[in-house]
């Protein structure tokens, strides 16, 4: 690990490398690729939650102007990878997708049941409205509480006893002098990125496919499409260079993507499909409805003696979805006795998926609310209570942390926020007739580093193109990678171009689980180190350099210099020229080593929130947020700060307004647009102060950097709920905290 090489005052953050093309409309998003001879598809979705399709009357639609095809299970081309076996009747383990247009069964409301393809979008929409689909309904189950008795141990756990989701018990209960037990509910929440999911599917040949598809992992999508259509991987190209937000909705290849590829095959033309906003509620997953029970025991002096965390999550009838809901309770605090239980409840809904801070954002709402309740019961400051129970090692794995500066986060955050001004008693702080509350919560998220490849190509002019099939769903991946490459190579960022979002580039994981900087950042670092070293070697083959001391050599301003003091070295361009090279290409792969088994690796953080609550209307306004994170090295402060702010905005939405309400008589969402599914607007968001510890974690990877995307949101909902309790004395255990719950 080199010493801190990234952001510092003398070397300020880069602006977003793609900022200008994005704000000037020059960035091409999936739906915007102007492919010749493009046809337009519109999905038609089911209006029942369970049953069978008994008829599709497509006569009027087929004869509407411009219509090329009406596709359904009756006539859809076969997906060769699915074989002829029937869709599994029973729930299947995670990763077994719903098979679109496969048979006449309906598994959830909003399921794609037909598709109209026409020469224009408007004609496709009109023809779709003429389609008459009849169903035979069966009794459906969508209501969580009414069916919760049927929750079971996940099949994934039944088949794999070493699954992290298996029942967990550690230690003996210490003396319980204080005790709380509470149940917490989070409703279904949807990602709803600004850009709807969209795909342009092009069959270049019988066995050659190109898709411009909104997703979070071009390599993963490439693999899934190759498998589904039984064509060689290299014959599938997936391009997703710009993404208008995703938050997890683009991790998988969803049925609509397969549907568009099928449609393109069926009509023999490229096909574009853009999901409608209401279709986004049933097509690309969601954060599952989850009920959790927390039981915490402590000694009188505030030491935890026992934590029991039980979680039941919702999944579909045809597939399991598991997430980390109960896992944080095993590691976050020092506690002799911890038990966790995780169950799944299958309902007649589509499969949930990972949504920013998956599982942990849900679980930490419960754990960090319960910790606040325990602190109140003990009459201890909630921050002091957490510090008293600080985990110096990971008791779950009985391993030291690779690095942990959570205590420093607590201290810094508390100081910047002014936590010392908090009065212990709830409902004791007021300002101009409104109730004021301070709340806080911790945050953590596991470290993920996946094998990643990168290629660096030095050009004759000394500029470099760095490439990896990684993604940018918003955090500024290209900017961070540019900075890493520029730093390692000792060149100006303008001399670096970073390419991503194309499956033809070197292998990289999708953008999820806060893994991009740890994984791809390492690969970019390593490939640039290799390129730098190669350039140095090549410099030593040049006259004038042969006698120099190799250990003294440095790169700076696009030159190899004999020493730090040297001002006149040999430029990269001259090195290539001397060797008669137009370019110099190096590839590298980067992955974890044995350190994975030696340390427990997490990102940490904490959030401090001030709220004002109107005693008359129950409206909650978040008036201040201070967040502090320990994620190792910060590569680019400016974009990191934006990422933290985005996570907190998401957390405020989760806490105060996001709820997908379903009418269970029909098994159908009634909040299916932005006017009824509320996410925060600017007026809801206060000043947000962001701080980082910025100490490299020397054990995780060569850049000492851990993930930031998830911990930005994990814990925020609890911090808001805790602040609301402090303001009002009312503990809201069922999100979102809407005004009706506080009057």
């Amino acid at each position: 690990m080199e010493k801190r090489i990234f952001d510092n005052p003398a070397d300020p953050s880069l602006d977003r490398v793609d900022g200008r093309v994005k704000v000037t409309g020059k960035a091409t998003y999936s739906a915007e690729y102007a492919v010749p001879n493009l046809a337009h598809a519109v999905l038609v979705t089911s209006t029942i939650a369970k049953g069978v399709i008994t008829g599709i009357d497509a006569e009027k639609a087929n004869s509407a102007p411009g219509v090329l095809a009406v596709i359904s299970h009756l006539n859809a081309p076969k997906v060769p990878g699915w074989g002829s076996a029937a869709q599994p009747a029973e729930r299947a383990p995670i990763g077994t997708s719903f098979r679109v247009f496969y048979d006449h069964f309906v598994y959830f409301d909003g399921q794609p049941v037909a598709m109209v393809v026409a020469d224009t979008h408007e004609r496709a929409v009109y023809a779709a409205s003429l389609l008459k689909i009849t169903y035979q309904s069966e009794k459906h189950r969508t209501h969580f509480e009414a069916n919760v008795q049927q929750a079971i141990v996940p099949l994934n756990v039944q088949r794999n006893k070493t699954s992290p989701f298996a029942d967990y018990d550690r230690g003996e209960k210490g003396q319980v002098e204080a005790h709380i037990e509470a149940e917490y509910t989070i409703p279904t929440q949807h990602h709803q990125p600004m850009e709807p999911h969209a795909i342009v599917a092009v069959w270049e040949a019988e066995d050659k496919l190109t898709v411009y598809d909104k997703n979070q992992g071009v390599k993963s999508a490439q693999g899934q499409l190759a498998q589904a259509f039984k064509i060689p991987r290299e014959n599938v190209r997936v391009i997703a260079k710009y993404i208008g937000g995703a938050f997890g909705s683009g991790i998988r290849v969803w049925p609509h993507t397969i549907a568009a590829v099928l449609a393109a095959k069926h009509v023999g033309r490229p096909v574009k499909l853009v999901l409608g906003r209401e279709q986004m509620f049933t097509s690309v997953g969601y954060r599952p409805y989850t009920v959790q029970k927390l039981t915490i025991g402590a000694s009188k002096n505030g030491k935890l003696t026992s934590i029991t965390h039980e979680g039941i999550g919702q999944t579909s009838a045809y597939e399991e979805h598991l997430e980390r809901t109960i896992l944080a309770s095993r590691s976050l605090y020092a506690c002799p006795h911890v038990s966790t239980r995780y169950r799944l409840l299958s309902l007649d809904v589509n499969t949930p998926t990972w949504m920013r801070g998956p599982g942990d954002a849900t679980g930490m709402f419960a754990l960090e609310s319960a910790m606040d309740e325990m602190a109140f019961a003990l009459n201890i400051d909630p921050l002091d209570f957490r510090i008293k129970n600080y985990a110096e090692l990971d008791q779950e794995r009985n391993l030291p942390w690779s690095a942990k500066s959570l205590k420093e986060c607590y201290v810094l955050g508390a100081e910047k926020f002014g936590w010392k001004n908090r009065k212990l008693e709830p409902k004791s702080m007021q300002k101009d007739g409104v109730l004021v509350g301070y709340g806080m919560a911790s945050s953590l998220y596991g470290f993920h580093r996946h094998p990643s490849k990168a290629r660096a190509v030095m050009q004759a002019d000394g500029s470099v193109i760095v490439q990896s099939a990684t993604m940018d769903i918003g955090p500024g991946t290209g900017t961070a990678m540019t900075r890493i490459a520029a730093k390692v190579l000792g060149i100006h960022a303008k001399m670096v171009r970073f390419d991503l979002g194309d499956s033809a580039l070197p292998d990289a994981p999708g953008q999820n689980g806060s893994s991009t900087i740890p994984s791809v950042g390492s690969a970019v670092h390593d490939v640039c180190v290799a390129l730098r070293d190669r350039l140095i070697e090549m410099a030593f083959e040049m006259p004038g350099f042969a006698t120099k001391e190799k250990s003294q050599v440095v790169v700076r301003n696009g030159q190899v210099l004999a020493s730090m003091a040297d001002t006149n070295g040999v430029s990269f361009g001259d090195i290539l020229k001397h060797h008669h090279r137009n370019e110099l290409e190096i590839s590298a792969e980067s992955k974890s080593g044995p350190e994975r088994d030696q340390y427990s690796m997490y990102s940490f953080g904490c959030h401090f929130v001030e709220v004002e609550v109107s005693p008359f209307t129950g409206e909650v306004h978040v008036t201040r947020v201070v967040t502090c994170a320990d994620v190792g090295t910060i590569i680019n402060y400016k974009t990191a700060r934006s990422q933290s702010i985005g996570g907190i905005v998401g957390g405020i939405g989760m806490a105060l307004m996001e709820e997908s309400a379903m009418d269970h008589r029909y098994g159908r969402y009634v909040t299916s647009d932005f006017s009824s599914y509320h996410i925060p607007v600017h007026a809801d968001i206060p000043p947000i102060e962001v701080y980082y510890i910025d100490k490299p974690d020397v054990h995780v990877n060569p850049i000492g950097s851990k993930g930031l995307g998830e911990i930005a949101i994990v814990g925020v909902a609890a911090a808001v709920a805790n602040a609301v309790f402090h303001a009002t004395g009312k503990r809201i255990r069922q999100l979102p905290i809407t005004p009706d719950k506080l009057i």
């Binding site: 009418d663 008589r665 299916s672 509320h678 607007v681 007026a683 809801d684 005004p739």
Partner: protein
């Protein structure tokens, strides 16, 4: 979207005759609601009669009224000097509505005629008496957190949706007249007579006759300009329809209330003016106790449907808070 014909009349008369010819034709101004309704398949006009170029944008002072053209944009009205100085309650209500972008498109006439945002109304797969009379009201036993608590007399409502406008709540409080022109000439309706209750024909929101076009509104001028408040309780700070809203306006002299106007939004099928409160306030000294008394009196006639039970207490609280702010007492 069903194909439609686009027409652009040159005069008001031409517009009205186009509309009178075809019952499926619709006027379009800002389109902030109509386009949504068309995209979701709730309405499928045969013709869109674009009235944006008609001379109906003027805001002027005439006699004891401010006349506001039906095509004046919500944002223009909210920034108009005459209105901001002489009728600030209307400005407050306008600025509480929608978002900046929507207010830049939406017109006064369109705001008066916007349709409910009940989710069932917008979902063609589910029953809704307003969209399809006789099919039933899904909200009555469904997701009805945002629905109505005030109904007319003892009749069973066929629709429990609420009128979504903020502007209309202030206009109801301010005894506004609505000027309409139709095939049979011009007429004026008071705000209370424009919108319907949901009893017999829930598909109809107003008493406008086919082809009639709102041309202007006439608002009380320079009355209640000192003591007024528009309080909107909502799930987020902007771009959210009211859970409950209150337009409160008082005329005070020597510490007493001489005249009062109170109208509510988000609680009924139409902007809800309740005259009893106004009478009870007259001649009294403002106090929280008085406001609570009149508010609770109002709430005796409220009926909840399930998830919206909280609205009864919230409405009472909101009336008290709005009247306190209007009266300037803490």
């Amino acid at each position: 979207m069903k194909p439609f014909q686009y027409l652009r009349p040159k005069t008001i008369r031409e517009a009205i005759s186009m509309a009178a010819e075809d019952p499926d034709a619709r006027y379009i101004a800002g389109g902030t609601n109509l386009i949504d309704l068309m995209k979701r398949g709730i309405v499928s006009p045969s013709k869109l009669i674009d009235i944006n170029h008609l001379p109906l944008k003027k805001i002027e002072h005439k006699g004891d009224r401010i006349h506001i053209g039906a095509l004046a944009l919500n944002s223009e009205v909210a920034q108009n000097k005459l209105v901001t100085v002489r009728q600030p309650l209307l400005v407050k209500a306008l600025l509480a509505g929608a978002s900046g972008q929507l207010r830049n498109m939406a017109t006064v006439g369109g705001n008066l005629l916007q349709r409910t945002r009940c989710s069932y109304f917008y979902d063609t797969a589910l029953p809704c008496n307003k969209r399809e009379p006789g099919s039933g009201c899904s909200a009555k036993e469904g997701i009805n957190r945002t629905h109505a608590i005030f109904f007319y007399g003892n009749e069973t409502p066929s629709c429990i949706a609420v009128h979504p406008s903020d502007m209309c709540v202030a206009l109801a409080a301010l005894d506004t007249a609505v000027v309409v022109t139709g095939p049979n000439g011009e007429r004026r309706l008071m705000m209370k007579d424009l919108h319907r209750l949901s009893t017999a024909q829930p598909e109809l929101d107003t008493y406008l006759a086919p082809g009639e076009l709102i041309t202007s509104i006439e608002v009380l001028d320079n009355v209640f300009d000192k003591h007024n408040h528009y309080l909107k309780v909502r799930d987020r700070a902007s771009y959210a329809f009211a859970l409950v809203s209150v337009a409160a306006a008082l005329r005070m002299e020597e510490g007493k209330i001489w005249d009062a106007r109170v109208a509510l939004g988000g609680v009924a099928h139409k902007p809800w003016r309740y005259w009893a409160i106004e009478l009870m306030l007259k001649g009294k000294e403002p106090s929280e106790a008085l406001f609570r008394e009149v508010a609770d009196h109002e709430l005796k006639s409220a009926t909840a449907s399930g998830q919206n039970a909280f609205k009864i207490k919230m409405t009472s609280n909101a009336i008290v808070a709005a009247l306190k702010t209007a009266a300037g007492i803490s």
